[in-house]
Amino acid sequence: MEAGSKIILDTCVIIAASINHSCNNIPKNIIDKFHYVSKSLIDHIKNNNLDLAYVLEISIIKARKKLSKIITRHLNRISLTYVIDKETFMKEHTFALIKINDSLNEHVIGVNVIPLGEDHLLEIKKKVNEFYKDVNGIILRYHPKNQIREQIRLAGRFGRFIKKRDIKNDYKKDFKIARILLEKFNSPEFDDEDITILSQARYFKKELNEEENKIAASENKIIKEREVYIASTDYHFCEVEVEGSLKCLVPDKIEERFHVKAWKPEKILKELLRK
């Protein structure tokens, strides 16, 4: 990774890095499945004083809201499963939420925080919104019904001999990915904050390009391209954990359209370690 590259930490990464709490009197611990990879990336950046990580203030606000929801959900689940006296229960969960919030506060200290206010992103946000509509359109084409219809259409007058079951089997994996992505794009959790993150990444990339061009023009030399990364585990940015030709559709399209790399934390960490 070239000096001057930038990494924007998605909300899910700062949340995951913060959630790992073992309860004393409740059998179930609270841990995010991406905790270790997310924390390792943030710790590596901070321990090595790499001034390249950014987090949007709006992401921190969203993370705080989400953390309290996660703990409340955990509380509800536990209260249905185990018989624990109310006071112990309150103490454990209060302690858990305090510690997890403390961990979140700690993780964002030393990371560059991009304050609220998006006037500079308005134009890019329009493009990002259009982009997601386009990607949604591509995914819709892989919907089982549309695939079958398309195969039959392509087969022309022989279409009636095509067995729908065979087509389904051919595209099974992509059907699954398409369903996951469509669910993701239509979920209320995919919101303006996600659009803002990608827009900010694009804004950074444009800034870096302009800077590089200026230096190159004035000093007449070739500079190695600096990259902008989004560290995320969410499928509206990075690859899906299911094999299939659509696995990397979203990050590939993001890179193609905005020249931003949307990678998982472990992949970014590997890149940092390699350099």
Binding site: N24, R64, K65, L67, S68, I71, T72, L75, N76, S79, K86, E87, F89, M90, K91, H93, T94, F95, L97, I98, K99, N101, D102, N105
Partner: protein, 153 residues
Amino acid sequence: MLKEVDDLKLAFLEMERNEKLNLTSSLPIIDELAQELKRFRETIINSKLSAESTFKEYYPSFVISVVLQNMKNRLNEAEKMGDNPIIALNSLKVITPIKEIISNLGNYRNSDSIELATNLQAEATKNNLFVIDSNRLKAADSVLRDIFSEKIA
């Protein structure tokens, strides 16, 4: 409790203005508030409210107690550490969120109370008023003691 919060704000404003520590005007209010919050927690623990509704009240009141305990610790050491008027300025930053939470306490359906408390914790952390340290919290009420003394390394 809202009156105590207003009184505490006046005490800190005066300390900041005069650049002089006034423990007699601030510490008794903090103690009184802490006691009332402790009683409040006992009441809701013994109530028939669901775990979720109880948590929406318990957690914010607990976060305020931690902040108040931090304020108390710093006030007690302020003379020695030359912490005034910084302690007054820092405390004034968290008084408004504390008041907002207290005015919401007792409204069991209020889903924002946890979020308000989380924001208070962040603001208090920024102002060095949320140190989770078992030694510094020795004098806290039994709930605080139980939780923190057991688990903080």
